[in-house]
Each structure stands twice: as C-alpha cells, then as structure tokens.
Amino acid sequence: MEALESLVNYGSGVDVTSADALEAACQVVAALYRSPGEGLRDDLYSGRLGAVSDALAVWAGVDAPRAPHSPPAWDRLRAAYVGLFVSRAGGVPAPPYVGLVHDRELLGPRVRRLRAELAGLGIRPRAEWHELPDHLAAVAEAVDLLMEQGRVAAATTLAVNHLVPWFDRFAEAVAQHDESGFYGELTTFLHTVLSEVAP
C-alpha cells in the first residue's frame, strides 16, 4: 500500500510507519515547492493535498493546517510563490536551495557533493529541469523516489543530511514573508512533521 493511502487511512487500523510518513511528507514538500503548475492546482483544489496534510497531522499529533482547505485564488498563490522563492524586488526572502544555507553561496561544495551522491544512487536531473540540483523540491523528490524503491535507509539519510537541518530556518523565513497565508502555514506545518519523521 502506498504511503499516502496508508496515511489517509491512518486511524482506521492501518499501520503507518515513519518511512510512510517521511515519503508522504516529501511528496507534499515536492508538490508544494515546485513551480506551481497544473499538478499542484489539481492536488490542491481536488482536496488531495488537504487530505494528506490532515493525515500527516494526525500521525504527528498536531493540528492540521487550514491552508490546503481554503487556499487563496490560484493567481494569488502563484504570485506568492514568485515573491517568496523566485524573484522579488531586491531579493528573495526564502531561497529554496539546500547548499545556500551550508555553503553561503550557490553551487558550492555542498551541492557538488549532493550531486555526486545522487549520481551514486542512480539519480540525475532531467534535461528540462530548469532549476538547481539542490532545490528543495528536487531533494524531496529524490527522498520520495528512494522510498518508493524501498531504499529506506538511503532515503532517510538523504533527508536527515540535506533536508531537515535547514528546514527550521527556511520555515521561519517563509512564515515571516508570506502574505498569502498559504505557504507560511504549510511550511511551518511541514517543519513540524519533518522534525518528527526524520529527527
């Protein structure tokens, strides 16, 4: 049974592991911080994202975020994404890049190492991926993929080493600068969940 289905059935006798929760959390992270497209729109307005968030909240024992159930208008959400993570007059408040936090620069040694580790795991970016390899959504996708393949240890190590250590600062920056209410609440929530599943 897939992790998400386990999660949404959580509480009805289905056994949910930390690995399931991590996989699900990373799917949410990847969906949320990719450039908003039809996929996110569908997940959001169909209620799937809300259902998974609710399940993650139950699993983690915290309040479920309201944002997925009452999202802002699509254009407003896309504008919030750009203003937080892409371009803003004078500077991006929350650059979603793993290496930036550790190296204090883009494409520094940390990213070279991450790229080498991913290559060692047989993972490389698609040619049409117009983002950096250490983008938050990319790392989350990698964790998710490894989980799906049953490579739990590798996935967990990747998450623990590259995703979790800086998520607190990222969540704080998003919460501080988000005017839509959507990304701020969800990022704070995901920080709580990730702290539980990959401490």
């Binding site: 897939e2 799917q27 450039s35 203003g83 892409v86 007059a89 929350a94 550790h102 620069e105 250590p165």
Partner: protein, 772 residues
C-alpha cells in the same frame, strides 16, 4: 493516491540495472556531508574560458576558471589591451553576481489586476512571455505606429536592444543612459571640434605625456582598469599632475597642484587658459596654422578673459591660473587635458567641453604623441541582412554623432525629442515627458534592457508616473531591481559568464575585437540577450533580420570577414589589428582624420552658429545655492559600478556605505561632527537619509559630496538596503544642455537636517553569510 509528478528526477540506466540486480539497495549508506571539509575547487579539473567583463563598461578581457560546471574565479589575461592581466575588484567580484540567489530565474508576467510597482508576478514559459510582448508591441504599432515603442539599453547587450532590434522594428526612440546622462557633452563637443568622437577607452596618449590636467575627472575613483594603470605609470615616470576639483579627490592627492575651483566655473578657467596661451603667444602656431580654422575669431573672443577675470569667478588665484597655462605650454605637445566621462554637470556642458578641447588644440596635442592619439575602430564585416527601415539610433557609448549627419526618413516620425540635439542618440530623459503627455506623439511601450530607471534618470517621481501611463513595459535584466519589478513582463537574462554576445569592437591606438563566450551554461531558465532579441524578432515578423540559426553561426560569419573564425577566436579571446594613431600616420597615407565640415579642427564652429548656438565657448554663471543649502556633488566608488553592485557582498565588504562629505568649518557651524547622522533635503522637500557626516578639509564650503549608487530603499535587498543616501533620489530636476541633450545634474541643492537617528542595520559580515 499519489501526489508526485516528478519533474526533477530521472533514473539513469545504471540505476535501473542496479535496482534489478540489487533490490536491497536500501542498504546503501550515504556519508554525512557535514562531517567532511569542502574540497578546494582548484584541486579538481579546471578549464579556462576567455571572455570580456561586464561589471563596468571598460570591457576588460577576462579569463574564467571553471571546475565542475561552476565559475570559481575570474581574472585578466595579459594579451588583452584592456586588462593586461589585471582586473579590478568589480571584475573579480563578478562571480558573486552569477551565483546570486536573488537573480531573476525565469520569465515573469505581472498578475492580472495588480498595479505596476506592486510587485505581484506569476511564472511563465518563454513562449508565453515572448508572445505577450510581441502581441503588445504589434498592437502599439497598429494603433500608434512603430515609433511609439521606446527602447532603453545599457551594457554590452545593448547592441541587440539599443541597435539591432529597434532598427529592424523601426523606432528612433532609443535612449541610453550612457549618453545623455553621461558622455553626450564630451562626445558632441569632440565631434564638432575634431570631427571625431572620444569613445571608450578615451584616446589619451598616457604613455607619452609629461603634463596632465584633470578637470572634475576622478581617476582612481571611477576605476577604469588600464586607464588607471596608464595614469599610475605616467606619474611614476614623472609626469606632472594638476587636478581641478572642488574636492580633494584621490587623484588630487597624487597631484603637484590642486585647484579647488568653485563649482560650475570651469569654463571661465578654461577661457583664461586660452587667453594666456593666445595673449602670450604660447600656443603651437605651426600646428594651429596647419590643422585648425577660426583661430583669429578665437583670439578675439578670449581676449577679455584674463586670469584676473577668471580669478574673481573661480575662487582661484590668478597667478596659479597663469602658472598652469604656462606649464602646459612649456610641456606641449606632451601635455594633455583628458576629458572625463560623466560630463553632464550644469547644462552648458558642451561649451565647457569645447573649451577644454580648444586648450588641447592650441597645445598642438591632438593626433600627436603625449596628447590624444587618433583612435580607430577595428575592421570587421556585418552579418548580411536586409537594410533596416531606420538606421540604428543609439550608437556606441558616446552615441553616434551628430545632428548634421542625421537623415530625416519621411516614412517615419522623428524621435520625440524632435532631433534637436547634436548627439544623435535620443536623450533618454527627454523620452519620459512624451510617455506622460503624449506630445509630440504617444510613446506607449518601453523595453528597458539593463537600465536602472530609478537610479539613473533624474526626477524619479516623473519616471514612475510615466511607467504608469504605458500600455506595455518590458524589463530585461539579471537582477530584480526596483524598476524591473514594475514591468508587465520580465525577461531574465543570463549573466555575461553564461552567454555569447556580439563581438566587442574596441577603438584604440591598435584597435581590437573581443569575443564574449559562455564559461558555463545559464542557470535556471535564463537566456542570453541575443536569443531573446531573435525570438522576439521572429514573433514580430522580422525574420529577415534574424535568419542566422544561432549565435555561433552569426559570430563565425562575421569573424570570417577578417580571415578568422569562431573556432580560431575562442582560444584567442582578443584579435588585435593595426592602427594609425598619429597625424603623421594619416599624412603619410594622404588621409585627413578631421571629419568636420571644414576638414580641420574647428576652433570656431560655424555649424553651432548656424544652429543658433555660440560658435565659441561662453561662460555662464551657475545657479547659486539658496542660503543654508549646499550644492550636491557626487562621484564614484572604485569598487562599485553605479547602483548595480550594492547587493554584492564581496564588494560591500570593501565599501559598504556612503557618507555626506561636509567642509569641516561648515560642520562646526552646524554643530555637526564626523559620524553624526543627518537627513538631506532638496528644494522640493524630498528627503533622503539618514546618512553619516564626514567632516573634512577635503571639500569646499559651498558644496557637499556623496558617492553615487547607495541609498537603496528595498527591504528585501538585504545587503544594500538602507545603507547611505541616493543622489539621484534627490535630483528632482536637471538642467538640459541644449546642444547635446545632456541632463545637467549638478544643479541640486540640499540642506542638512540634523538629528537623524543612526540606522540600525545588520552587520555586513553577518549579511554576507546569505543565510536563509
């Protein structure tokens, strides 16, 4: 249930195989990267790529060091005449711009219903963004005519957006800040005195000069690499230096004589020097007879302008004025008064620059060793294309001159500045009123390429009003500067380390061609300017002008016209050609270098007379500051380029703020000390600050001084925000130079308002960490 729709990941063939053979791959143990020290990039495989720099506009040849797909270091290379193996801090700091996380990353479209300046954008594909721009431009053309689109352009890529595309599209409304906000007076004056422009690099024969007079020319602060190298070498060789400046500048600190002139009176000083050279018969008679026209009229004109007359105007001693004139003559022709670059000061600037050139001419130094050499552009053919409907309007840094050469194309309307100025390039600031008033006709669209509208054009409020009136505003840039985030469509350009550009054709003693080539692939979804121009051109139906398949083919075709090729040029970087630097070289070939109407150096300009302007330089007294106010003067920092680099932490570590310089006696009178904070307030009530006071003897008492480029007011520009004051924000007006179209910007008066709080700003070193 599944959320993921993977965009990033791709399983390699090896991985699939490994999965099939080793299903227990979960046992793979990753090392903890935090436990290992970073590897030094230079221990890996390093390749080098030759290009030319974009962090100022000197165009230094650079070598980029690349390892693992990233540029780690940039320096100069010896074979390039503009760097000679050395590079300034801005050039070396360029890497920080390429890897700036704040860069524009992909096309953005303003959210429908949001206002310009609100900063609300959504991402778009290139196809969608370019199609929106093309549809907007075609709509404007249909309703108002092609001339109703304006283009502003700055930087090397302006060849695409200031020349090629506007000419193919057919608009004369192309403005460059590097002309009417900078060099237009010196270029116009040179064109109509010598029949040749100045251009970049300035053709001063530093290697052979023995006596240098700088007038408001901040060498060492407006760092231009080899100009500074040459200047230093000249001083080391023993050349004497006189600096005329209200401020004891860095150059003044090296001078044999500092003349702290009253601001705005330089023309009086130059007229007095002309007077001494003529009345004491210290000019080069042979040179003047052979190469000039109008000497007798000049002699009569300057007769009243004695050093004693000038002394009362300039606050300089007549004896000093006379002494410098005699020393100049004593060293002629190896004595030179180089033109500065930013020459838009008081609105009568073409006349001042004419006076400066006339002193040089009487010294007999133009085209002579130790004075000015005769710069020539390199030869290289164009890529073949049909004739443009309108000739490119912007020209080079100085703007192709000049009014008499302008041809009126009856098929198109004149530029909205009516073509009245002698600088051919449309005066950029004069395009703004037409956007607001619709007179003489509507300018409804603007493409701004690399031009900081709010930190370069005076009267920012007027510029913002104009932007609100446009039907279409497109910004092409690397960073999300304030003005960029007003645009309807934002097109992100790759940095110079990631792209080709057109060839740089540099005039010089020995002219040369520089190749710009990418050292690495563009980050994110950014594109080179040539690609943006071409794709836009194709959507505008201008296919015939963009029939080259890619930039490599374009460059290769051009390079083959000189017997080279792209493959040959790549490892070479710079192709140097032969020149004819001195008059003797031209005379030997029976050629005349003076492309004036008379074919000689025009001491008296009949062309100006015919246009209703003074044919000989005339001194006009500057406006005096109101009581209690000071004239606002401004200059450059050697580690910053205009307002472009104040978010670069490498450079901000070296110069992280500006202060307002104030004469020490005035500071005492106002009860101020160094380190006190004040507000600056102009006559229109615009207030800037807080800014720290620097009380100094190095400045006259009637002016204050700040370094340009600081004073960003953008909370998210974490490094630049709130540091210092913006000079341009205080310029609510300018005084138009009616000859060149330059905007005189030394006409702002400010009061110092004490009691401003000390800004509470994060420490720069903390910000430099760039942590989330």
């Amino acid at each position: 249930m599944k959320l993921e729709r993977r965009e990033f990941l791709k399983l390699s063939a090896a991985s699939v195989g490994a999965m099939m053979l080793a299903p227990d791959a979960a046992a793979v143990k990753l090392p903890n990267p935090l436990a290992r020290a970073p590897e030094a990039w230079y221990r890996g495989q390093v390749s080098t790529v030759l290009s030319y720099c974009e962090n100022c506009f000197w165009k230094c040849g650079v070598r980029a060091y690349v390892s693992d797909g990233r540029v780690w270091k940039v320096d100069g290379y010896a074979e390039n005449p503009l760097s000679r193996g050395r590079l300034c801090p801005r050039g070396q700091g360029a890497v920080a711009q390429t890897y700036d996380p704040d860069r524009l990353k992909r096309p953005l479209v303003r959210v429908e219903g949001s206002a310009r300046g609100e900063g609300k954008y959504r991402e778009a594909s290139w196809d969608e963004a370019l199609s929106i721009v093309a549809a907007g431009m075609l709509s404007i053309k249909e309703r108002y005519g092609s001339e109703s689109m304006a283009f502003f352009a700055h930087g090397s890529g302006d060849s695409w957006f200031g020349d090629y595309l506007p000419a193919a599209w057919a608009t004369p409304n192309v403005g460059k800040p590097s002309v009417s906000l900078c060099t237009s007076p010196r270029e116009t004056a040179s064109q109509w005195t010598f029949g040749r422009g100045i251009g970049s690099p300035e053709p001063v024969d530093w290697e052979n000069t023995d006596y240098i007079v700088l007038i408001g020319h901040h060498i060492g602060e407006d760092t231009h690499n080899t100009q500074l190298q040459n200047f230093s070498q000249a001083l080391k060789r023993g050349a004497r230096l006189v600096v005329v400046d209200p401020r004891f500048s860095v150059a003044a600190s090296k001078a044999d004589r500092w003349l702290p002139i009253k601001p705005g009176t330089d023309t009086a000083l130059l007229l007095a020097w002309l007077n001494v050279l003529v009345s004491e018969e210290r000019y080069d008679k042979r040179y003047v007879d052979a190469n000039t026209v109008g000497f007798e009229r000049l002699a009569s004109h300057v007769a009243p302008f004695t050093p004693e007359w000038a002394a009362g105007i300039t606050d300089l001693a007549a004896a000093d004025i006379r002494a410098v004139a005699r020393e100049l003559a004593g060293h002629a022709p190896r004595a030179v008064l180089p033109p500065g670059r930013h020459t838009v000061w008081y609105g009568n600037d073409t006349q001042r620059m004419r006076a400066l050139y006339l002193v040089n001419a009487l010294l007999g130094n133009y085209g002579v060793p130790g004075g000015f050499y005769l710069a020539q552009p390199p030869y290289i053919g164009e890529y073949p294309h049909p004739d443009f409907p309108l000739a490119p309007a912007s020209g080079g840094c100085g703007g192709a001159s000049a009014a008499a050469e302008q041809t009126i194309d009856l098929n198109y309307r004149q530029a909205v500045d009516q073509g009245v100025f002698f600088a051919k390039t449309t005066a950029i600031q004069e395009l703004i009123p037409a956007m607001i008033s619709g007179e003489p006709y509507r300018v409804a669209g603007l493409v701004a390429y690399g031009t900081n509208l709010f930190h370069s054009i005076p009267d920012v409020a007027r510029t913002k009003q104009a932007l609100q009136k446009l039907d279409l505003y497109v910004a092409i840039d690397v960073l999300p500067m304030d003005h960029v985030m007003w645009a309807d469509v934002i097109l992100p350009e790759a940095t110079y380390l990631e792209r080709y550009d057109d060839l740089a054709e540099v005039s010089g003693k020995t002219p040369f061609i520089e190749l710009r080539q990418p050292a690495v692939e563009p980050l994110w979804d950014t594109k080179p300017g040539w690609w943006i121009a071409r794709e836009l051109g194709l959507r505008l139906g201008l296919d015939a002008y963009f029939d080259w398949p890619d930039i490599e083919a374009y460059l290769d075709t051009r390079l083959r016209t000189i017997g080279s090729s792209l493959a040959k040029a790549k490892p070479q970087g710079t192709i140097v050609q032969g020149g004819r630097p001195y008059l003797t070289d031209w005379e030997a070939r029976h050629l005349n270098p003076f492309a004036t109407p008379s074919g000689k150096i025009e001491l008296y300009s009949q062309t100006f007379a015919d246009a209703g302007f003074a044919p000989l330089p005339v001194y006009e007294p500057p406006e005096e500051p109101p009581a209690g106010s000071y004239r606002l003067l401004y200059g450059r920092s050697p580690v910053h380029s205009f307002a472009k680099t104040q978010n670069n932490w490498l450079l901000m570590e070296m110069h992280g703020n500006n202060a307002v310089w104030l004469n020490r006696s005035e500071a005492r009178r106002l009860g101020l000390s160094t380190g006190d904070y004040v507000w600056l307030e102009n006559e229109q009530g615009v207030r800037e600050g807080p800014v720290a006071v620097f009380a100094t003897e190095r400045l006259r008492a009637d002016c204050v001084y700040v370094v340009h480029g600081f004073g960003h007011r953008a909370p998210d520009m974490r490094i630049a925000n709130g540091r210092g004051v913006s000079d341009v924000a205080l310029m609510s007006r300018y005084r138009l130079d009616p000859i060149s179209g330059g905007a005189g910007m030394h006409v702002t008066f400010v009061k110092l308002i004490p009691g401003a709080p000390r800004p509470r700003l994060p420490r720069l070193e903390k910000l430099a960490e760039r942590s989330v």
